[in-house]
């Protein structure tokens, strides 16, 4: 069992008891449990992870800006959580399946979403932005922790199909208080389901600090279910990659579920409707700014002479291009016709709804005639 943690006095400030491979200053350190999982990750792969994180940050800042401009209704920012999202999602295989919550823009990105796939739902054009079967990614979940059960059920399906695929599900520290996560861990352990639980402990559930959800490090709960766990530095993309590879391998090879607590921080508000200055201080935010997940990779690569100007310029250009594409996709979106709100409630004809649709259609037609 891989299990890194000691009881913490104060969960909110005791965030150093984590496994890591890159310090906040970009120094590569060893961790006997994590190191074996990333022996193949050289500068080139690290640059790719860095580029992913930069692009994700750009998608996120575009989302924030578009909300401020009234182009999307709401946005749940993930700045600060890039290493957790990219490190975990990039470790998946294409044929694995992901069950994210609303904040995992990085998972949706890593699974291959097109520019409009980040925005359509937040803009309010539809409840989902992409086809889950195409991305191998469930539509994001807003009911806290509900998706963790879906992930376990999907993993039970994989077991019945006899493949070596795996499932991952993401949820916050607040979600760990929900009954559904408890039930998901019970089911996963009982059936030895190939599922990886990724708890993004970003310290806050809207305004509630993690200490309201837990009195001991969250990773410590999993062993109680018989599920091995790891508490990693969620701002260290290399450590998250290693932990996720370990966990996925565990699931894939028939050893059952695994649990990762990624200790990180949400730099922005909970959503664009939130005012974090009411519940947290500047010092805390500054402390976490100094642990930026992108900066430490850059520092490490620079020290190795692996972060050249050409690379930096290319990444900056890629981010600009993606940012422009995201904006354009948002501004070019068209709204579906009114009658379509009655579509897809049922997969098969339902006479009650068909009647309503006929009525609403006739009502709408009346307007069109009047306009002629």
């Amino acid at each position: 069992m891989v299990y890194t943690l000691t009881p913490a006095a104060d969960l909110h400030s005791d965030v150093e008891d984590v496994a890591r491979l890159l310090t906040a200053d970009g120094e590569r350190i060893t961790d006997h449990e994590l190191d074996p999982w990333v022996t193949d990750v050289g500068p080139e792969q690290l640059r790719a992870l860095y580029r992913d994180m930069v692009l994700l940050r750009r998608i996120d800042s575009e989302g924030m800006a578009l909300q401020r401009q009234g182009q999307v209704g709401l946005w749940a920012p993930c700045q600060g959580q890039e290493a957790t999202q990219i490190g975990s999602a990039r470790a998946l295989r294409t044929d694995d399946f992901a069950f994210p919550s609303y904040r995992e823009t990085g998972v949706v990105y890593a699974r291959g979403a097109e520019p409009e796939g980040f925005l359509r739902a937040w803009r309010g054009e539809a409840h989902s932005s992409y086809d889950p079967n195409e991305l191998g990614t469930a539509i994001p979940q807003i009911i806290i922790a509900a998706q963790t059960l879906h992930a376990v059920g999907y993993a039970m399906g994989i077991q019945r199909d006899g493949t070596d695929q795996a499932v991952a599900t993401w949820f916050g520290d607040g979600a760990t208080s929900q009954g559904d996560l408890n039930e998901a861990m019970v089911f996963a352990a009982s059936y030895n389901a190939p599922v990886v639980f990724v708890c993004t402990n970003n310290q806050w559930a809207i305004s509630e600090p993690v200490g309201v959800q837990a009195k001991a490090p969250i990773a410590g709960r999993a062993p109680g279910y018989g599920i091995p766990s790891m508490r990693v530095d969620g701002n260290d993309v290399l450590a998250v990659t290693a932990a996720m590879r370990w966990a996925l391998d565990h699931a894939r090879t028939g050893k059952g579920p695994a649990f990762i607590e990624a200790v990180t921080y949400r730099m922005g508000p909970h959503t664009t409707s939130d005012d974090p200055t009411r519940y947290r201080g500047k010092d805390e935010v500054e402390y976490w700014r100094s642990r930026d997940p992108l900066a430490r990779v850059e520092a490490y690569l620079r020290a190795q002479d692996e972060f050249g100007d050409a690379f930096a310029a290319q990444v900056a250009k890629d981010a600009d291009d993606l940012g422009a594409a995201v904006r354009a996709a948002c501004l070019q979106m068209t709204t579906a016709p009114a009658i379509s709100i009655l579509d897809n409630v049922y997969a098969e004809p339902h006479t009650g709804l068909e009647e309503e649709k006929a009525w609403f259609g006739a009502y709408l037609d009346g307007f069109e005639e009047a306009a002629l």
């Binding site: 399946f97 409840h127 509900a146 089911f187 339902h350």
Partner: protein, 336 residues
């Protein structure tokens, strides 16, 4: 045709659905070795094995939520909720995910989940074992809700529910579990009445009596008793509560001009309220008198020794018949 209890008819329905489609699996508490607390799944574990007859941990949201994940993966889970009163812990998964995922995903994700609920009272059970929660589900768009009243329907409608690409809440009246009836196990699903269709259980001309589930038997008794008094009652077994077959219902009301609804669920905002509102909207000019509801009282289900005062019986239905026919009765003069 074979004479079977409803329990056995459902058991056969499950067995044949599982033989026909290896994506069908059954999950729930105690459904394996024990065969379920009502023995509805008796013998299925031996035939299909533990991968398809899944004894689950004791966690209703867990059962429902993992069924969602299995449906994502292309399976067709049939979930057994042990008793009506225990569906509430699963309610969030049902209304937020089971019912909505097809809509939320613009049709990309299907949720062909059948939720079997041993349902309602009249069997002298302990608290939380006799509830009628159907209105909660009827009110939830995206679900289909059916309630069966005899072994043949139980067998056919269950198989239709499992084959349906939508989630179906399937109510099984406990009180009729051991009543026998003729079942044609070779019924061709393609020829059977579609799942949403109501059944005219007894034709009549004076009053339309709408009901479903175990109340169908009580309504039939009332219709026979009324016949003795010279009143002809048309009993309609709705079978489907979402959608309701208003074609059959309105044709009957236009013929009789009088309508009564009976169910054992509480009255306030119940299925009866919806039925009467809809019938009134559609048939106002045909109505000879105000529609009447005969329901359980607006109380938590009472203790077993008193339940007979809650579940509407033949006399309460006949009392309503007098009212819609404007005859003097026990309630004449009571300001409602």
């Amino acid at each position: 045709m074979t004479d079977l209890t409803m329990v056995k008819a459902i058991n056969e329905g499950l067995r044949r659905a599982m033989r026909d489609d290896d994506k069908v699996l059954v999950m729930g508490e105690d459904i394996g070795r024990l065969g379920g607390v009502f023995r509805v799944t008796d013998g299925l574990l031996d035939e299909f094995g533990a991968q398809r007859i899944v004894d689950t941990p004791l966690a209703e949201s867990g059962i429902m939520g993992t069924a969602v994940g299995l449906a994502y993966r292309g399976y067709r889970p049939v979930v057994e909720i042990q008793f009506d009163g225990f569906v509430y812990p699963a309610f969030d998964q049902i209304v937020s995910n089971v019912a909505k995922l097809h809509y939320r995903s613009q049709g990309a994700v299907k949720m062909p989940i059948t939720i079997r609920i041993p349902w309602a009272g009249g069997v002298g059970a302990a608290e939380h074992h006799s509830e009628s929660p159907e209105a909660y589900f009827v009110h939830t768009s995206g679900l289909r809700v059916v309630a069966v009243s005899n072994p043949q329907d139980a067998y056919v409608v269950l198989r239709q529910a499992i084959a349906c690409d939508d989630p179906v809440v399937f109510f099984e009246p406990k009180r009729l579990y051991h009543t026998k009836g003729a079942v044609n196990l070779d019924t061709d699903l393609a020829d059977a009445a579609p799942m949403g269709l109501a059944r005219i259980a007894r034709p009549g001309t004076d009053v339309t009596l709408l009901t479903y589930g175990a109340q169908v038997a009580t309504a039939m008794d009332a219709a026979i008793a009324a016949e003795d008094e010279g009143t002809s009652i048309e009993v309609i077994d709705l079978r489907s509560l979402s959608p309701v077959d208003y074609k059959t219902v309105t044709a009957s009301v236009r013929k009789t001009g009088r309508v009564i609804v009976t169910h054992e669920a509480a009255r306030e905002a119940g299925v009866g309220a919806e039925l009467i509102a809809s019938v009134t909207e559609r048939c106002f000019n045909y109505l000879e008198s105000a529609p009447v509801r005969v329901t359980g009282w607006d109380i938590p289900y009472p203790p077993a020794k008193l339940e007979k005062h809650h579940v509407p019986d033949l006399d309460r239905i006949l009392d309503a018949v007098d009212r819609v026919l404007d005859r003097p009765n026990s309630l004449t003069g009571v300001e409602l």
